[in-house]
């Protein structure tokens, strides 16, 4: 039985206007469907509904905005359909462009911050361990839960803005301890140090774990305990794409998994899976639909590139340039772009033939010019979605492979790490 506070009931009855009443009706219907006994406060929201998927989503946002809907917690906005800083990159039709712009305007009118990024965790201020938040977008959700230890359930279209307007969410799912403990244990065994130190270990493990665990919380044993945030970002994004993972524990690295016992919360796992090199090889192969044929584009930064990744890319590109006819895109946020530009990292990349995309990303909106050849990426998420979304063939490799391929003008995979 759902218990509402006086303030919840006042919101639902329209005391604070029709927008918060509609938002509260939707929140309580979801709470009841989940068997939640109450609602809890959130301290921030991240909105994914600002990406255009049809007029119903636009009607919803414009209705809320026209009815006086305003966010009551700091609210960041996910990528949209358009790159407002670099509009010449957009190749969709004018209908999509006009609808995309109106949708973005409605979310800004409600008080959303124009962050337009899928990586709000790369911003200066971010939620702390144990903080309840309402974040949408699968990679942001898995990063917040796993790496920051903040608590968000799997929010998405419509409920994200309802949470931002009411400041309330159902006390359910990953807000609660019992749903955050690991159900499945994955152990890396017999993996060489060279592979353990490689960057592509993370998206490959993420892809494999997602396929095997579905939506349950996995604990992974045997990852390097000094794994970078960018590595964990890549792991989470891949696991969220292939399996709907909203939280993982990297034992010895992530904040709720100092030990395997802590990750399991004192309950025996449903299943244990040993990950051997052959399984990594198979998972890595699954991420490519083609590793031969003409290379037309390289796309990195899905999720959005971090400052650390920009520094690495500048080093890899040093005194070299992208081969004629190859498109090379880096997707990032405005905030990270400004930081990278201030460090002098952007001019050399542009001079080398690299296009920077902000506010959106290359696999959700028409940006790439040529769809006939193979697109190369270091992102497990892009590798998973691009064949369906864009109808392109994908070759998956490390950032180093992507750069080497862009310079050579053909797919080049370094055999030194994984043969």
């Amino acid at each position: 039985m759902l218990h509402l506070t006086d303030r919840d009931r006042a919101l639902a009855s329209g005391d604070l206007g029709p927008a918060s009443a509609m938002a509260m009706r939707i929140i309580t219907a979801i709470a009841e469907a989940n068997g939640a006994t109450g609602l809890i406060d959130v301290t921030s929201a991240h909105i994914d509904s600002c990406l255009y998927h049809g007029d119903a989503g636009l009607d919803f946002a414009e209705r809320l905005a026209a009815d006086g809907g305003r966010v009551v917690v700091p609210t960041t906005l996910n990528v949209s359909s358009l790159d407002l800083l670099h509009p010449h990159l957009f190749r969709g039709d004018t209908h999509l462009q006009e609808r995309g712009r109106r949708l973005m305007a409605a979310y800004l009118a409600m008080g959303g911050m124009p962050t337009w990024t899928c990586a709000p965790y790369q911003a200066a201020s971010r939620p702390a361990l144990g903080e309840h938040i309402a974040w949408a977008e699968s990679n942001a959700i898995v990063f917040a839960n796993s790496v920051l230890g903040a608590r968000t359930d799997r929010y998405g279209d419509f409920i994200d803005i309802c949470a931002a307007i009411t400041g309330r969410v159902p006390d359910a799912g990953l807000h609660r301890d019992e749903h955050r403990r690991a159900r499945v244990v994955f152990r890396l065994e017999g993996i060489s140090d060279e592979v353990l130190r490689s960057e592509i270990l993370y998206p490959v493990v993420g892809h494999l774990v997602g396929r095997r665990t579905g939506t349950r919380v996995p604990a992974i044993v045997g990852l390097p305990t000094d794994a970078s945030e960018d590595s964990l970002k890549a792991l989470g994004a891949a696991a969220a794409s292939s399996g709907g993972v909203a939280m993982f524990h990297a034992v010895g690295r992530t904040p709720e998994a100092a030990t395997l016992e802590e990750a399991l919360g004192g309950v025996a796992p449903e299943r244990e899976v040993v990950i051997e090199q052959a399984m990594l090889d198979a998972a890595r192969a699954e991420l490519s639909t083609r590793t031969e044929g003409p290379l037309t584009a390289v796309s990195v930064g899905t999720p959005h590139f971090s400052l650390a990744e920009f520094r690495t890319l500048v080093d890899l590109m040093y005194r070299r340039r992208v081969a004629a006819g190859i498109e090379f895109y880096v997707n990032t946020s405005r905030e990270v772009l400004a930081q990278a530009a201030a460090e002098g990292l952007i001019l050399p990349l542009r001079a080398a033939g690299i296009e920077i995309v902000t506010d959106t990303c290359t696999y959700i909106t028409p940006i790439m010019r040529d769809h006939d050849g193979v697109v190369m990426t270091n992102s497990g998420k892009m590798a998973y979605y691009a064949p369906g979304n864009l109808g392109v063939a994908v070759a998956f490799g490390s950032l180093g492979d992507c750069v080497a391929s862009a310079i050579a003008g053909r797919i080049t995979l370094d055999p030194a790490v994984w043969g």
Binding site: H53, G54, A56, D59, F60, A136, G156, F158
Partner: protein
């Protein structure tokens, strides 16, 4: 038969049973109502006007937008029967009701009821009741 209504209402139509979960995003064309996920066993099925029976949703939360859009365009199932509760499907139907006053019920059926439903038979859903016509 009794079902658990997540979004109560009435609807009548022919049953279409899906053998696997469906992501509406990338799986349902809201312009036509066709099931367009080519890896899905029921790929090509027309879902407009049916009573859709499926184990659960899958994947992207953008599925809520796609379902609301299909309801707006009149290409959606008249009602959805699930084996387990699904927030994303429920949200799509809730928002369509809020915006357009179009009620497409969403219910959860117990295992016995769920398994008894066959593609092609006509059923009527009225809140917590599901009857064969």
């Amino acid at each position: 038969m009794t079902v658990h209504p997540l979004l109560p209402g009435t609807a009548t139509g022919p049953v279409v049973v899906l053998d696997e979960p469906l992501s509406m995003w990338g799986g349902l064309d809201p312009e036509t109502g066709e099931l367009i996920d080519r890896r899905h066993p029921q790929s090509g099925a027309m879902l407009a006007g049916c009573i859709l029976v499926l184990p659960s949703g899958r994947g992207s939360s953008s599925s809520a937008s796609v379902l609301a859009e299909a309801i707006r365009l009149g290409t959606a199932p008249m009602a959805i029967v699930l084996a387990e509760s699904d927030d994303i499907i429920l949200l799509g139907a809730l928002v369509a009701r809020e915006l357009y006053g179009l009620v497409h019920p969403v219910v959860v059926a117990d295992e016995v009821t769920y398994r008894s439903l066959q593609t092609g038979e006509r059923v009527t859903i009225a809140d917590a009741e599901l009857v064969r016509d």
